[in-house]
Symmetry: D2
Subunit: 347 residues, 4 copies
């Protein structure tokens, strides 16, 4: 930590700040300039709040200079994390993965048809919600365990992996037999109790960025899962809340290269929630991969106009097919390739 004192700070104030720093476990180096004194605190005490210093008498500004996260930092695993799935598929390597499917599991027919279409388009994961976090208590809330069973069945028949959202600690146990990857939704990115539990689970987790979470907060939340011992973690940019209303959210494409630099964890993009309108999804999917994404999470529905949720941002099946074709051309430009579909599964 560094504390820059005010020009007019008294010796007493400076002394008092030094004492507090020492008390917390810092070694303090003092630089006395003509007008200003600077205190450099060396060492990394576990518990301290930089804001505490910002309001101490005589303090101009205080900065935390050590990173507040450890396991999530790039330095912890410079070569990058590769998350391997039961069928051998790897996320975080050279291949870019495609996760697609409807917002919600609505019926057996709907999810089976979706899985078939995702596989045909070249995707590797079937996504779909069985438990739905909805802003309104009057909206459709999901099919629950029944939905999970249907997803598993549909995915297996089409050689796909299953990714689906967990909203509650109590759901984890019930989900384990049916899924390949837990998804933590944007609204739960700071549900720390849930994150802590997922740190103890032996299944991969994809954690979405909260709608107003800073990059640093994303990595601190990742730290909750990693510090529990679960290193099979992927992050996902899905749009942040800004003043702009032309799109559902503002997809922060730059978060992809920023995160790739700061952390060893794979980073995916979710253009569906990022923009909220299906006609914008292909452009943003291409942009995500161009910017370095390790995969895409997208909504596709056999009949989006009749979807029970998020229909407006769900691709038509043939849109997905055409998009994956373009992605196959784009990936090599950034030294990647799109993961192959069913072939992989039988490996």
């Amino acid at each position: 930590m560094i504390v820059a004192m005010q020009n007019q700070a008294t010796d007493e104030q400076i002394q008092s700040v030094i004492e507090r720093m020492v008390e917390l476990g810092f070694n303090v180096h003092r630089t006395t300039g003509e007008t200003q004194t600077i205190l450099a605190g060396v060492g990394t005490p576990e518990h301290f709040e930089v804001t505490e210093f910002q309001v101490l008498p005589g303090v101009h500004q205080a900065y935390r200079i050590s990173s507040p996260y450890k396991l999530a930092g790039r330095g912890f695993r410079p070569e990058g994390t590769r998350v391997t799935f039961p069928n051998g598929l790897v996320v975080g390597g050279d291949e870019v993965v495609i996760m697609a499917g409807p917002c919600s599991v609505e019926s057996s027919d709907q999810i089976h048809l979706s899985a078939k279409q995702v596989a045909a388009s070249g995707g590797q994961f079937l996504r779909g919600g069985a438990y739905k976090p909805r802003s309104s208590p009057y909206s459709f809330q999901g099919m629950g365990v029944e939905g999970l069973k249907l997803m598993r069945e549909a995915a297996d028949e089409n050689g796909l992996l299953v990714i689906t959202e967990v909203m509650e600690i109590s759901q984890i146990e019930a989900m384990l037999p049916y899924i390949d990857c837990f998804q933590v939704g944007a609204r739960n990115m700071q549900n720390f109790n849930l994150l802590r539990e997922l740190g103890h689970v032996r299944k991969p987790v994809l954690m979405k960025r909260g709608i107003s979470a800073t990059i640093e907060e994303v990595l601190l939340s990742a730290e909750y899962i990693l510090s529990g011992g679960n290193y099979d973690l992927m992050l996902c940019e899905r749009g942040i809340r800004t003043f702009e209303t032309a799109t559902r959210n503002t997809m922060d494409i730059s978060a992809i290269p920023v995160l790739k630099k700061l952390t060893h964890l794979p980073v995916l993009g979710d253009p569906s929630h990022g923009v909220g309108k299906r006609d914008l999804v292909p452009a943003m999917a291409l942009a995500s991969v161009a910017a370095g994404a390790d995969g895409l999470l997208m909504e596709m529905h056999p009949n989006p106009d009749k979807a029970m949720s998020d229909g407006a941002q769900s691709l038509f099946p043939d849109q997905l097919t055409k998009l994956v074709e373009k992605l196959r051309l784009l990936a090599p430009v950034v030294d990647r390739s799109i993961a192959s579909a069913v072939a992989k599964v039988h490996a």
Copy 2:
């Protein structure tokens, strides 16, 4: 719902939109202008997403005109909700209540001293966290049930009510014996499972606005609790996330009068989290009451410089005392008064 078609929309497109509206349960009235057709959907189907219509071919724009919340709307209870506590204290009436105390319960001494100071300053509620949602897994996480017991004890000795945060469904049962009011933190405002459970509890709830929640989302979350049957609900503005970094958050004081107009629920202000620096708290507390707040939730610590969390935004005890004195002068200007302290308790 109203759908404004594009100028160049075809009859087929218009017909197709009408059919979907009818299918959802709307009666459709069509206005054909020289250049543009407008479709007014009358009726209130439970399940529909206005965004679905925004992407239909030929549609210029679609608007939801019915309010998505019902029980939370002012019209449901025009006279306003008054939440009555066991000691007879009412929130939402003429009196403005003061809730104060440390961010976290840290020790028996700390919380007893805090309670004494809150009571002496004229507060009615002791606040303090026993379960702490912290951005970093390495920060202090709270004392748990032990903290709750200490709070109850300290509050009882000083004639105060207890308000504390619930983070998890599993904590509810354990908290019930010790507290007078559940607090839902900003990070859990869209933890819908938690909200639903709190709808079934017979204790008042104070729900804070999420850091990036719109007013409409606040009211939809309130609807989750109300629709479970718990009407003893209070809302709280505590700052939203904006581009400004001079303050921890940007306290949206206008949310207070806006909410008072849209809903019958009491609305409090939390200037501590709103600004994050103690020297700004008094000004924002005064502003909150001037703008119509039904109460204030504030952090105060016997020794803020040594606080284990949020020390920077915790008032010194004598700051709280002076602030309450000013609030007593201010309240009558807006036809309110500050609730009296211990007297009330013995009533």
Copy 3:
């Protein structure tokens, strides 16, 4: 400036950063910790960009610790700036001033009636736009010089001062004979050429905060005017752009106490633009003064429903009257009073 090097920074990288700091004019003090090296740059070179250092190889983070503004800082004039007008009225002293009037000057009748009503309500300034910055080229653009003449006339007849917006350097000369105070609108807060010119003018200026300007940017823009030699400068919070759409902008009430602490310049509040709806204006006006504002700038129109611009946020004349009555009661709570109206003028 302080530069915290990365843990793995090489000696060569550290040396290279030191050299660049010295080249810019810093004296560099080096603190070598077990894992991290910290470089404290003492001195204040005029031209340097802290971002330049943030991307140098081996740098973890770089912080500017000297304030980028000088004349605007509180330390430059700790006792606070008092702007005195020809009639003796002082802004920035004990009295809170009221500036009110229509968004645009629309006609002789309208502005004369407005002036009469403002004076009757207890205001000291007549506001009104003669040059209007409108988002659309098809909206009403103002009456120009003719409007200025009408304002002057109307103000003089009612013992009021005139404040009106300047949009362009070329307008300054034409405006001088008619006005008492230039207003720089939010959209021009970073029109640096205009600001520089206003630094050479011998008339007070009220500069509004830009819709997305940080507090620091406000003070840097103030520095443009001050460094030209014009110290009769007042600042004004008028709402910032956030994700919330329930109000036109989000009025950042905390900017008032924050600015009062950082600068010696008077700070006013403009609740009309802050919220954009007249029924919310009184609450926000009271909140502004409770938070320490030195004055209020508000829109009032004799017939808001027929106003050519901003009708929705213009108070009815009797709303203004009632509001000023409440403000007279509120001001003493924060050790202020509302400036007296016409009496002052004849002093």
Copy 4:
């Protein structure tokens, strides 16, 4: 315009709203539902503010349904605008253009070297600032006309076109002989007087999106230039202000496809200002073109570490070269190509 009345609106209130609509020039169609009355206003009066209706007694909500811009709308020129430069280069066609160069013209050597490097990398435009809008009055403010002359010379020697920023009406005349394209910076996007003047100029204009401008505001500002008769207009996304501080701004890549859909004007991306750090620029440049950009505006400096402004976000010359190579591979994926460099010039 559509006005949805409140459920409890009285006949008198409804009648009063209808009268005001008729007065403004609307034909009003009334739909009376069981609980709610809806008024559809057909026709397009030039002067009306939808906010005026939102505060009328009995009104639930009011929506503008006609687009507030006309000439900027896609429908005005469905085939898209192509801006042709003196050397035959076209922006808005199949080719993606590259504009690059230093933030500021600093010296003859620097700008000549820059031009040579831009041409060698495959760019078509030399960018560089002669007039600089700087947040601080103490920062370098540009070389003025001298800088323009140097740019022209350097560009001519290397077969490049010149684009540079205009900050003030008074600069237009002086700039005309030296430049090929005016650039309107983000801070001047709502400097309506300047825009109006540029509408009368016979040179292309590139207008950047304001830091907090909505897409609609971008198009309204474009309307100012178009309505003056200058149709050689290009737009540019360069990052918006959000809560995220990991990047200088948040580059809204989705604005590119959104604008391409809403308007016929070419849309470029400026990744340098979008992210503010050079190591992120290539990823964002690729993402921009993947998302449909018609060109890129980027900062490159022969020696970024010694740049007088924006060094941190300026590419090294060889970074630009490598980036353009990658762009050449990427463009065909989205059915585009990168404009060829000098060849074109001699055509």
